[in-house]
């Protein structure tokens, strides 16, 4: 689908069992997020970079994704060091940057990038429908999966619907100005969007029900745990052991 730039490549990562990838991404993220020190984050980031490289993704799309998250991180770098309590490292005008603030920014930067890269390489490399199916096999409740899949599907439909309404207004000579007419038109557009979205939801539900849908999503993809998956699983466990090992080492020492 439109915003799945990574899902349809064909690398070794793409061929791994989606269930395995999903589990690894989640466990990896939890392990990384719990870390309070820098030591485990270096191997974590290293592993995530290796995985992204192995997935052979379109580099432009990849850079865009990473940039989006890091713009937010950059914002933290601007604010956090000057607002966090601690020992001043340097002073700009009336503001003092604290060591603890800077450390926290560093931690957040490493953590968020490692988690982001692992999710890009492990999860964004499968179509969302497959992800839903994999979640089903991992015993995630069907209602949650349904919510996820349909939300994902219909965000685009609603966006398109909005574009269509806007186009309909434009072809009849609508040009936004600062006037009551403009505000009213936008209000109508938004109102109409809600009506259409709920109407659409009902119609799609009807369409699904008519074709025998009873709450469970099936998929054309069949999962098979292949020998290569076993090898990958061992490597993944090893990666997690390294990260956790580094974490415990930094705590105990």
């Amino acid at each position: 689908m439109i915003l799945e730039p990574f899902a349809f490549e064909n690398s070794i990562i793409h061929r791994l069992d989606p269930r395995l990838r999903l589990v690894f991404a989640v466990v990896f993220s939890i392990a990384t997020a719990l870390t309070q020190s820098f030591a485990p984050l270096y191997p974590a980031l290293g592993i995530s970079i290796i995985l992204v490289a192995m997935a052979r993704l379109d580099s432009l799309a990849l850079i865009k994704r990473i940039a989006v998250v890091n713009v937010f991180v950059l914002f933290l770098w601007v604010v956090l060091p000057f607002t966090y309590e601690g020992d001043a490292v340097f002073i700009i005008g009336p503001l003092a940057a604290t060591e603890q603030g800077l450390m926290l920014c560093g931690l957040i930067t490493l953590k968020s990038n490692a988690i982001l890269l692992v999710f890009i390489s492990m999860v964004a490399t499968m179509p969302v429908a497959v992800m839903g199916h994999a979640m089903g096999r991992l015993k995630v409740p069907p209602k949650i999966i349904l919510l996820l899949l349909l939300t994902y599907r219909y965000i685009f439909v609603i966006e398109q619907e909005y574009q269509r309404l806007l186009r309909a207004a434009r072809v009849r000579g609508f040009a936004p100005k600062t006037s009551m007419h403009t505000y009213r038109t936008y209000a109508y557009l938004v109102g109409m969007l809600f009506v259409r979205a709920s109407e659409r939801a009902k119609n799609v539900d009807n369409a699904m029900v008519c074709r025998g849908f009873s709450g469970e999503f099936h998929s054309l993809t069949e999962f098979a745990f292949k020998p290569v998956d076993s090898v990958a699983a061992v490597l993944m466990v090893l990666a997690l052991v390294i990260i956790e090992g580094a974490r415990w080492a930094s705590i105990l020492i």
């Binding site: 689908m1 439109i2 179509p127 969302v128 429908a129 599907r153 685009f156 439909v157 398109q160 659409r200 119609n203 799609v204 009807n206 369409a207 699904m208 029900v209 008519c210 074709r211 025998g212 849908f213 009873s214 099936h218 998929s219 054309l220 993809t221 069949e222």
Partner: protein, 257 residues
């Protein structure tokens, strides 16, 4: 030829063996809306090919919604394949054998790719992924859509959406087809192809259409919706002299198809 009276009409229905779809005294109106059905009765027999006509807003789409249980009438009985429909579970079973093509194809397609959408029905019916895939590919081929498998559904043209929707319905091998304006927006070649396909499968059909030449070629009986009721209007062959009670009445006239 004159109009058939309602009495003749019901007699005709009684004679039919194994009715596939039977509606009795259906009353329905949308919330705060006008009365759509006012004691409507109707039945379709096995392998009957029925054309349903009526002016815009006369309730044709609503009728198909009632048959498939998407809209629950205020009163009246619905029997499908001889079974009375009382609860949602009854309709769930019936829908597996009813193929309903919506008037608006945008409502019908919801999976990202064409193949996934066509396979949705077979998967729900319990076919394996591989069987579903094969069935879907064949259904697409039958409609001249070979090679469309990986196309994104919402990026298809209007006519293509209509055809894919038809594939999603036909792939389930329904016993009865409910087609709501299946030919709007199709070119003449595709139009002819659909006629050919509909004539080659042994199913009951209720086809809503405003295109008389289409109904003439695909159906044998015509019913019309009028003032909350449904009325038998004759054989499809005599569509022109028979159906148009207004504005041309029985005066010979031509249509610009």
């Amino acid at each position: 030829m004159g109009e058939h009276s309602d009495i003749e009409n019901t007699e005709k229905e009684k004679k039919q063996k194994d009715p596939v779809i039977e509606l009795e005294n259906i009353v329905y109106s949308y919330n705060n809306g006008p009365v759509v059905f006012d004691g409507l009765s109707f039945s379709a027999g096995k392998e009957d090919k029925i054309g349903l006509v009526g002016h815009n807003g006369s309730g044709k789409s609503t009728l198909l919604n009632v048959i498939s249980g998407l809209v629950k009438p205020e009163s009246g009985t619905i029997r499908i394949f001889g079974q009375e429909m009382t609860k949602e579970a009854d309709f769930q079973q019936a829908r597996k054998k009813l193929g309903y093509l919506f008037q608006n194809a945008d409502d019908q397609l919801f999976s990202p790719t064409v193949l996934e959408d066509v396979a949705f029905g077979p998967l729900n019916m319990g076919y394996s992924a591989e069987e579903s895939r094969q069935m879907s590919i064949r259904a697409l081929e039958d409609l001249g859509l070979a090679g469309f498998e990986d196309r994104i559904t919402h990026k298809l043209s209007g006519g293509e959406k209509k055809l894919v929707s038809l594939a999603t319905v036909l792939v389930m091998k329904p016993v009865a087809l409910l087609l709501d304006e299946p030919t709007t927006g199709l070119d003449r070649a595709t139009f002819a192809r659909i006629i050919e396909i509909l004539n080659s499968i042994r199913v009951s059909c209720i086809i809503v259409s405003h295109e008389f030449d289409f109904l003439e070629k695909t159906t044998s009986k015509i019913f019309s919706m009028d003032k909350g009721k449904i009325r038998y209007s004759g054989e499809s062959e005599h569509l022109h002299t028979h159906f148009h009670t207004h504005p041309m009445g029985e005066t010979p006239h031509s249509h610009n198809f």
